[in-house]
Amino acid sequence: MLVENLKILAVVLGTLAVFTLVANSIPQVQSVVPEDLSFGANVSESELTSSGEDLYSGAGGCTACHGLGTVAPNLLTDEGGTGSIGARCANRASGQDCKEYLYASMVEPADYVVEGYGPIMPDMRRSLSNEQIWALVAYLQSVGGEVTVTGADIGTGTDPAPASPAPATAAPAAATTTTASLDPVEIMRANTCFACHVLSGEGAPIGPAFDGMGARVDADYIRRSILDPAAEASEGYEAFAGLMPSIFGGQLTAAQLEIIVQFLASQQ
């Protein structure tokens, strides 16, 4: 009986050992956490490209799609005879130079889908900070082209992006709130929303009316419109595109923003 038990133990341990050995004999790839970056105004090109390369091949997760050549364009190698990304980026979108194109295609990827591929790329601001995105731009420029990203780019208003999302349980970023109220109408009144929007007879009809808003658009759209109003003009209000300030993301607390969004989405 002892011998039989030992044989069984040997089979179990042997099987486990084989599986463990096989799993350790293949290339070991770890998914790392994107490292927080902080660049000064005098950041060097090599600092930027080195950080960008680390992100590209690691925590940025870029190679998951751009390394395949089937679901997204190859960036490090030639793509359809146009060269690597650093060589072709300046010719991708009219009116945009290389770094503008690369930055914009990362933060508004739906507007820059390359022909032959699907719109699968997410807005990289959801997972990367502004510094990280600029480091990636610098690295991609370096692959066959000239790096033009500087510390000035990172600190300028070219960045429409919020910083890397904070942990959900952390306190909201230091917002300059105009009111501490959690009443949706009170919040909107304090933030002068009624200067351009009408709700139950209150306000001026310059922008889309709040009345019946939930029947026209969903909560996602409303949230997007508040945080990034320039991204998309509402139908019938194209002439007023750019009029709405993009300050509310910093002015409202997260709770206030969500209260407004849900309130407007419920206006049928």
Partner: protein
């Protein structure tokens, strides 16, 4: 009325304790913003000695899930076996169902204990995440506890009432208890699945700034991957339960002291293996559904899973499933040695073995190879210049479908080994069955090759045709076989118990491989969230936020499997102390492989 002195002392202690509790409650009420309370409330992570929090949670959750899978899978086929016993009038299936349930009973408390440990570790090591999840799911947690209560008592009634409610309507009532046990267990699993799938695929309108109190319960509960995981786990639980029962039977077979015992456990092992491999054949389709839903939810997550840092995981998975197919078929082929008439099929086994090995090789070929710039340039792209062609899904789908067909053919030969059909259309029926195999193989290979000449989106659709061809063949061939074998002559009785010991080791390898595979898939499901507790909503800011590589994961998975089997061996041994199982009396006239030896009570039941 005066109290006795000890009772008075006890009452004073109770009053003192109540007084202390009251003062504490008052303090909390008067000073709600106490510094310690704030510190506790804001603490995101705890620490666990020696191995760290991640390993502690990982191992606990995995061992709990392994036990849970067993106690959810076994009742499914126990209740089916009992039904065969009731409606087929075959008592041996009833005895088998009871023995399944006996294993269940002893494993059930282990499941609960590991579940409690998991809860305590979550509360103490990941309090931030725990608070977040409870804020959203508290109602379902209360329901979970209630259902768990019902499940426990239904199980006790089901097992302990087996002999009392064994006849007539009472037996039907008992069988209904078995069905109820499955219902409670399935609901419990569905609820727990909602918590973990929410972490993978939270609703689109939930972001990092969304307060958990604002998350709508039902949209969080019935999230994108909830139902695919439910279905996948239900089938996988049956596979796992069958494999563990098979290993248990193999152990008892090897330790058996009488021919009766050996015959009984030989048959039980055969049934366990049949359940495991039979359900395994369906599992890839459920996996395909889950994978598709992950892609639908978030392409980036899907691509990370299949083509990103986890791409090599699927090569390991292919290797493991290859082991399962080979061990399962090997067991059947060895088992044919105890079936008179099976020798006429023996020459074909080497060809089936070759097909299976070729299938495993193709399936285990990497699709794309993640490399740095120099490596990619040296290789000329992300595909290997020669083997890259075999790494595409067209080749892999073809390989796995051919492997399934081959395994099904093994089973069919095993099933027909000692039977000689007597129906007039037997020859035609056999030709039709053969033709179905050939046609489905042609369909599978045709779409596999054609897939290379069309775009990816069309190629994905081809896998549906391949799967349908194989499933149709399986159902049609079994249907024909059932009618063709009615009244079939026997070529001789199956010699249950006359199996070489090496066949039983194949059952152990199957059980260990299934268990390891479950651990690996658990790592895949959890790992694709990467450094997020809740995908793109709640970031993991702990020291263990990085997702480890496969080699590290393999060590942890092996440790989990070892802990699980050690405990299983221990509790089965404990169960054996309490009660002797039913054993079989070797019957010289067991008619076919679908039947088993005659059973006789051996006391204790």
């Amino acid at each position: 009325m005066s109290l006795s002195r000890p009772m008075a002392r006890r009452n004073r202690r109770i009053f003192k304790a109540l007084g202390a509790f009251g003062l504490l409650a008052l303090a909390v009420h008067v000073f709600p913003e106490a510094a310690w309370a704030q510190e506790v409330a804001s603490r995101q992570y705890g620490t666990f000695p020696l191995v760290g929090s991640r390993i502690a949670i990982w191992v606990t959750a995995q061992v709990h899930l392994l036990f849970a899978a067993f106690v959810l899978g076994v009742p499914m086929f126990a209740v089916v076996a009992e039904a065969i016993g009731i409606f087929g009038g075959d008592e041996k299936y009833d005895k088998l169902a009871k023995e399944f349930t006996r294993l269940l009973l002893v494993a059930y408390s282990a499941t609960a204990i590991w579940g409690a440990i998991l809860s305590f570790l979550l509360v103490t090591l990941y309090p931030g995440l725990w608070l977040y999840l409870t804020e959203i799911f508290q109602i379902s947690m209360w329901v979970y506890v209630g259902l768990f209560f019902f499940e426990s008592f239904t199980l006790y009634l089901y097992y302990y009432g087996w002999d009392r409610w064994s006849q007539g309507r009472a037996k039907l009532g008992h069988w209904t208890l078995g069905i109820l046990l499955n219902v409670w267990g399935t609901l419990v699993m569905f609820i727990a699945n909602s918590w973990l799938t929410y972490m993978m695929s939270p609703p689109a309108d939930v972001g990092p700034d969304t307060s958990p109190a604002m998350v709508q319960f039902w949209s969080a509960f019935a999230n994108a991957t909830w139902m695919p995981i439910n279905i996948h786990r239900m089938i996988a639980n049956v596979v796992f339960g069958g494999a563990i029962v098979g290993a248990y039977a193999a152990y008892r077979f090897l330790m058996a002291e009488t021919d009766e015992e050996r015959a009984h456990y030989d048959w039980m092992g055969y049934v366990g293996n049949l359940i495991a491999i039979g359900a395994l054949i369906v599992l890839p389709f459920a996996g395909y559904y889950l994978g598709r839903e992950i892609y639908e939810f978030n392409q980036q997550m899907g691509i990370t899973m299949m083509g990103g840092f986890m791409s090599w995981l699927w090569i390991i998975q292919a290797f493991l499933i290859g082991v399962l197919f080979l061990a399962g078929n090997y067991y059947l082929w060895v088992g044919m040695g105890r079936i008179p008439g099976a020798e006429r099929f023996t020459p074909y086994t080497k060809y089936m073995l070759m097909v299976l090995i070729l299938g495993v090789i193709v399936w285990a070929t990497p699709h794309t190879i993640i490399g740095n710039r120099e490596e990619l340039e040296a290789m000329g792209g992300t595909f290997h210049p020669f083997l890259g062609v075999l790494g595409l899904m067209s080749a892999k789908n073809t390989a796995v479908n051919i492997m399934i067909l081959t395994t099904f053919l093994s089973f069919l030969l095993y099933r027909r080994a000692n039977s000689r059909p007597t129906v007039s259309w037997a020859k035609t029926g056999t030709i039709v069955q053969g033709a179905l195999f050939v046609i489905s193989a042609i369909i599978v290979v045709f779409y596999g090759v054609y897939g290379y000449f069309v775009s990816a989106i069309i190629r994905i659709g081809f896998s549906v045709y391949q799967v349908l061809a194989v499933l149709f063949t399986i159902f049609a061939v079994v249907g024909i076989d059932i009618f063709m074998m009615r009244g079939a002559e026997s070529r001789g009785a199956i010699r249950w118990g006359q199996m070489p010991p090496r066949s039983q080791y194949a059952l152990f390898i199957l059980a260990v491989t299934f268990t390891w595979l479950m651990g690996l898939m658990g790592f895949a499901r959890s790992g694709i969230r990467q450094h997020w507790h809740v995908w793109e909503v709640m970031r993991d800011t702990s020291v263990d936020a990085a997702t480890p590589a496969l080699g590290y994961a393999a060590v942890v998975i092996s440790a989990c499997v070892l802990i699980f089997f050690t405990l299983v061996a221990f509790i089965f041994w404990l169960g054996g102390l309490a009660e002797k199982p039913v054993v079989a009396k070797v019957s010289p006239g067991a008619p076919s492989v679908t039947g088993g030896p005659e059973l006789a009570p051996a006391g204790g039941d």
